[in-house]
């Protein structure tokens, strides 16, 4: 196994996901399969090859520093699951 049950639990935690025992077992097998397949990339010699993160050559995109009208606070809060006094509400963070 490339990826263990513990790896899945650890990674799920990093990604803020919870999983039941069934999914952990299933994912461990499936993701192991996928990562083994991905390792065929080791057959390619990439010494000195620059990585690509963007396929089209573009330098930084700047805009003029001028004020623009945004949507406004009330509009942006419309989709919030919970809100109060113009703020997003979340469960208590500090005890």
């Amino acid at each position: 196994m490339k990826i263990t049950r513990d790896d899945i639990i650890h990674t799920a935690n990093l990604a803020r996901l919870e999983m039941d025992e069934d999914s952990i077992r299933k994912f461990a097998v499936q993701i192991d399969d996928i990562l083994r397949y991905v390792e065929t990339l080791n057959n390619v010699n990439t010494e000195g090859v620059q990585p690509t993160s963007h396929a089209i050559f573009l330098t930084n995109a700047f805009r003029n520093d001028v004020e623009k009208q945004d949507l406004g606070r009330d509009v942006l809060l419309e989709n919030a699951p919970e809100k109060e006094n113009g703020n997003f509400m979340v469960p208590k963070v500090v005890g």
């Binding site: 990093l14 990604a15 996901l17 919870e18 994912f27 991905v38 990585p51 573009l58 699951p81």
Partner: protein
């Protein structure tokens, strides 16, 4: 002829001559949706009321002589493109109630062009999939055979166009998600060059690969829609400031002297169906008869497109999908009283299995100790794949290949085996990795009567060459004229 059967170009002629109104045309499309979408399942939301309102406005404009090609034309949009005031779900429970406060740039452009938006189309959740079976909302059936998948992830878009439930549609393509469903449903689909169409308002899956594009009943309509949505947008920092040619004006140019590259590696691709192979071979002969000249090219790193993609796309997705946390919009599990528990529970209940699988793969590939082995390695091989295309395009103008290795498969056939599903993307992924345009055009039918698509890929910003070749091919064949009997 029923109005919903019209192409955009035909409908435009009738609207312009005032032989029909947009209200009649839009009404006919809405009736069609009401009559058959129960069987197909292409739509997540039908925006009947606003569509009729927009049609009335279009008719007023036309009465004043103010008509553009898309004025009064009913189109539909994949449900991951933000539409102001119309629910945009990404076919996910986590966004089931999300109503965008703004339009994506492509939607503003369609509206400025006078188009009527009839609804939002089904897809694999967050565009992750090749069959639309990963939708958290509903299944979509292939109009040519209801027991089969329509392809994905823009399966709703392709099925809706094929079944005449809109005159044209927008989809998005991260690894083949426009071209593959277009191929499976017998319609025309274009993934434009990366940066050609603004991604502002497109819910991001893999930002370096995603591109919005049209699905249409024929090449002429595809060119009309592509022209309407393309162009620089300062709201998308990856949008390229470059003029958009009038694509429609290239259609009638001949094919003489166009050099068509045939990649030698594609013949030996794993699982290539003999019927697909022979349809593509025939297409090549048609192109040669039209004056195209075929040359062999080599794309030696073809086999690595799948592993490269399935590192890069999930990595970018794991980062993009971190924003769905139950705080700013979308679903929240309100039973959890602690912030961290609320995040975990919201995301676990809100995302479906394929999305979680990809988030975990991506998070793993980017995590400490694995970044170099997976993400960096994949990004280096991506460079080699791009170089393969650059070399090939030194000796040809476009590359011809299959879109998908097989015609549409049965619903349920591959849904338990993600790796097999991923391997079916072999012919389409490279175009996204290299940022080049790719198109699917109908080129045949299987013995079982299922459509087969031909892929044309071109250099960066050479969409007009693809349109020209595709139009010449279409005029020489009649595959696009066949309709599913629904």
């Amino acid at each position: 002829m029923k109005l919903y059967e019209l192409t955009i170009y035909e409908a435009h002629g009738l609207l312009k001559r005032k032989e029909i109104s947009s209200q009649e045309l839009t009404g006919s499309v809405l009736d069609r949706i009401a009559a058959i979408d129960e069987k197909i399942g292409a739509f997540i939301t039908v925006a009947g009321e606003s569509a009729i309102r927009e049609a009335k406005l279009a008719d007023k404009a036309i009465a004043k002589g103010d008509i553009q090609t898309l004025t009064g034309i009913p189109v539909a949009v994949k449900d991951l493109i933000c539409t102001k005031g119309i629910r945009t779900t990404c076919a996910s429970k986590i966004l089931e109630n999300f109503i965008p406060p703004y339009d994506a740039t492509v939607i503003s452009r369609l509206k400025q062009a006078g188009a009527v938006i009839v609804g939002k189309l089904n897809m694999d959740e967050f565009a992750m999939g090749s069959s639309t079976e990963n939708s958290g909302v509903r299944l979509t059936h292939n109009p040519w055979d209801l027991t089969r998948i329509p392809g994905g992830s823009s399966g709703g878009s392709a099925a809706a166009v094929a079944a005449d439930m809109c005159l044209g549609a927008l989809g998005s393509d991260t690894g083949g998600s426009i071209r593959q469903p277009a191929s499976h449903c017998g319609v025309v689909g274009l993934k434009p060059t990366y940066g050609r169409v603004s991604r502002f308002g497109l819910v991001a899956f893999a930002s370096s690969l995603d591109q919005i594009g049209p699905l249409a009943k024929d090449v002429t309509d595809c060119a009309i829609l592509a022209g309407a949505v393309s162009g620089y947008d300062p709201s998308d920092s990856t949008s390229v400031p470059r003029d958009v040619p009038d694509y429609s004006s290239f259609l009638t140019e001949g094919m003489e002297g166009v050099k068509i590259g045939i990649p030698k590696e594609y013949d030996s691709a794993q699982g290539l169906d003999p019927e697909v192979s022979s349809a593509v071979m025939n297409a090549r002969k048609v192109m040669e008869k039209l004056g195209g000249k075929c040359v062999e090219v080599s794309l030696p790193n073809t086999a690595y497109a799948v592993p490269v993609y399935y590192v890069i796309a999930p990595s970018e997705a794991s980062s993009n999908l971190a924003r769905f946390d139950g705080v700013k919009y979308g679903f929240r599990d309100k039973d959890r009283k602690n912030l961290m528990d609320m995040y975990r529970s919201t995301r676990s209940k809100g995302f479906g299995p394929e999305v979680k699988r990809r988030i975990i793969i991506g998070t793993y590939c980017l995590s400490a100790g694995y970044y170099d082995a997976y993400y960096k390695k994949a990004s280096q091989v991506r460079t080699l794949i791009m170089e393969d295309f650059s070399k090939a395009f030194e000796i040809c103008d476009l590359i011809l290949s299959p879109v998908a290795p097989t015609p549409a498969f049965k619903i349920g056939e591959k849904s338990d085996d993600p790796l097999t599903m991923y391997l079916s993307d072999i012919f389409t992924l490279s175009a996204n990795l290299a940022g080049i345009p790719g198109m699917s055009v109908p080129c045949g039918f299987s013995s079982g009567g299922l459509p087969i698509g031909l892929q044309l890929m071109g250099k960066h910003f050479s969409e007009e060459t693809l349109f020209k070749a595709a139009y010449n091919f279409e005029q020489a064949t009649d595959f696009h004229k066949r309709k599913p009997g629904i």
